[in-house]
């Protein structure tokens, strides 16, 4: 900046990162830290519990295999959104079908989680039965809440896309949020279920 003098400077170029994308990077980063708080708390308490006391002996075993299967549905939805993003310019109708497919798969995942929560609560595993139960429902429930938001936002985005009324960076931001919801799940599954 020294001695810049009166040299004419270039006019403003295109932004390196579009504003919608910057905003979504910030949102996703906050969300990652939010879940990192939960997961580190969960791990810390598990690590500090005496051997054999975590998860507490009275708590039922979590449905590892069934949830693993449901996780596949969520991962498939992530792949579908990825491919839709790649094919949007070449094959718009196909991309929109892929996006609706992603919405369907994620909804199936959420439906499974409702089923799982109802079953676990019915056998006496609740938020207040132990700290383990509290963490389980809070972490998995917080993720499910984000998945509901992601489904709503993606559905909105697909309708706007169908109408040709969505700026490309906004669509990028929506996809980023979707990847966040999908990508976060394996981390939660590994820490909470396994």
């Amino acid at each position: 900046m020294a001695a810049a003098g009166a040299i004419p400077r270039p006019v403003r170029g295109a932004p390196i990162i579009e504003s919608e994308v910057v905003a979504m990077v910030i949102v996703v980063f906050c969300e990652v830290m939010f879940f990192a708080g939960f997961l580190s708390g969960f791990s810390l308490i598990g690590a500090r519990a005496p051997a054999g006391w975590w998860p507490p002996p009275g708590d039922p075993a979590l449905p590892v295999a069934a949830t693993g299967g449901a996780s596949l549905a969520l991962l498939i939805s992530g792949v579908a959104v990825f491919w839709a993003g790649r094919r949007l310019d070449a094959d718009r109708a196909g991309a929109l079908r892929l996006l609706w497919g992603a919405v369907a798969f994620a909804t199936a995942f959420l439906a499974y989680q409702v089923f799982e929560f109802v079953r676990l609560v019915s056998i006496g595993f609740t938020m207040v039965s132990s700290a383990h139960g509290g963490f389980f429902y809070t972490i998995v429930g917080a993720h499910a809440l984000h998945a509901v938001i992601a489904v709503a936002v993606l559905s909105w985005a697909v309708r706007r896309l169908s109408a040709g009324d969505l700026r490309p960076p906004a669509f990028t931001a929506v996809r980023m949020y979707w990847y966040f919801v999908v990508g976060l799940w394996p981390a939660i599954y590994t820490v909470v279920y396994l």
Binding site: P10, E18, M33, F35, A131
Partner: protein, 566 residues
Amino acid sequence: MAQSHAHDDHAHGDHHEEGWFLKYFWSTDHKMIAKQYLLTGMALGVIGAYFAYVFRMQLAFPNKPVPGYGLVTGSDYNALVTNHGAIMIFWVAMPVLIAAFGNFLIPLMVGCDDMVFPRLNRLSYQIFLISAIVLVSSFFVEGGAFGGAWTAYPPLSAKAEYNLTPLGPTLWLAAVALEFVAFLLGGINFVTTAMNSRAPGMRALDLPMAVWMIVIASILFMCSVGPLIAGAVMLMFDQTIGTGFFDPDRGGDPVLWQHLFWFFGHPEVYVVLLPPLGFVAEIITTFSRKRLFAYKTVLYTTIGTGILSFFVWAHHQFIAGVDPRMSNVFSVTTVLISIPIAELCFVYIATLYAGSISFRVPMLWALAFIAEFLVGGVTGIFLGASGADIYFHDTYFVVAHFHYTFFPIAIIGTFAGVTYWYPKMFGRHMDETLGKIHFWVTIAGFNGIFIPLFILGAAGDHRRIFDYSNFPELASPELQAMRVFATVSLLVMLAVQPLFAWNFFRNMWKGKVAEANPWNANTLEWQCPSPPPHGNFNPMPEVYRGPYEYSQPGRADDFWPQNSPT
């Protein structure tokens, strides 16, 4: 892109007269939102100061009715101290330093017409206002306001049978959570606008330091706040539905809250510190007519400080039962972080060296900021050493230490910023003489409050006692005399604040009309009219140089505006 985007959201080209409600309450204009934040923050500052007055009176003159309040009970005292801390940090320092000045300065300093997402900005203030209302309402519910300290440690904060305030803690947590949402929305705008809306020709390293500091502070806030929100969710569940996250009986861990809280809480110190450091950079360069010494060093040092601030949090927990070996690690990182902060102080002093200094009111505040913050920093080293902290923890030494950091940040920083940018905000000048009287009495009063508290703390005075008459060792006449001295100093300091209010509000209408650039400063906000119209600049500025080109040889003027082609 950002530019055209902002244009679309509100057609400012043809300025139409808006209704009173739309103009003052439903505005998307960054300057109006800044003023909303500023006045709300200042109003809450009055509440926070009133709380301090009440509990300092109780400490100095125990169990006598406090004029303007009445008799202070133990639970009153707890609620007042708790909410004094929470209000001053979350509802005064944050909204004024980051939200008000960030909103006002960033679009003006980067040379654009408004924030990238103006409606998000409006939503940010509205959520903030709701959070403030929720907080204040907690004083009027059954059992009264939360009294478990602004750090809200469980189990005291988690169980109504311990804190005796069944609703206060939940309202308090809800208010804090809403406030954080407001600042996340605001922060998105600050970062995006500084990145994408800069005037043509303005490079990243041409940004004034105030913009950099607010942007870095916003990023620090966003990186640190997530775990605390997670902790707040858990604490709220513990309070309301009886989960056991922080209950050792049921497999939980109360120290977990402390980690989640301080992982946010320590970076938060830097979140509120950085904006006033930026204001000071603007003010001392303007009033010493010198280029900022080592611009890039300041920038990279600040970024380094921000990163390091994530690795010091456990120094708040040295006696909370954390492993002493871990305490050693955190002692080292804590003492390390004093190096970049000391460096910033040296850089600012080097900026002053051989400058043509004029002691205008903003300059006095800026210099006081450096001097007083230095005291806060130096005393922090005692507390950062885990061995010394075993003695000092929970004494008035700690109280004095963090007020020597937070008072310069929240109060001196605000006065520096307000007195410097007042002509731009309102198009009028404040009165210099009144400003100087207000400055000197405030600074003398502040030191009169907290120097005795250092001595009290070193004498072992515990900070969480509301009536010392039950503690004969601490109720000695010598120690009590210092408490009275501190309280009287507070009264003196508070007595002079109406002078500022008079100076501030009266001169909005009666002050001497300010020209566009009354301080002969370089940065872009001074190159548009005072106060800036809707849309700020006409024509939009183009930038040719950095922000601190003062006293350049060979120029007739001793300043060189960033947008001046010649």
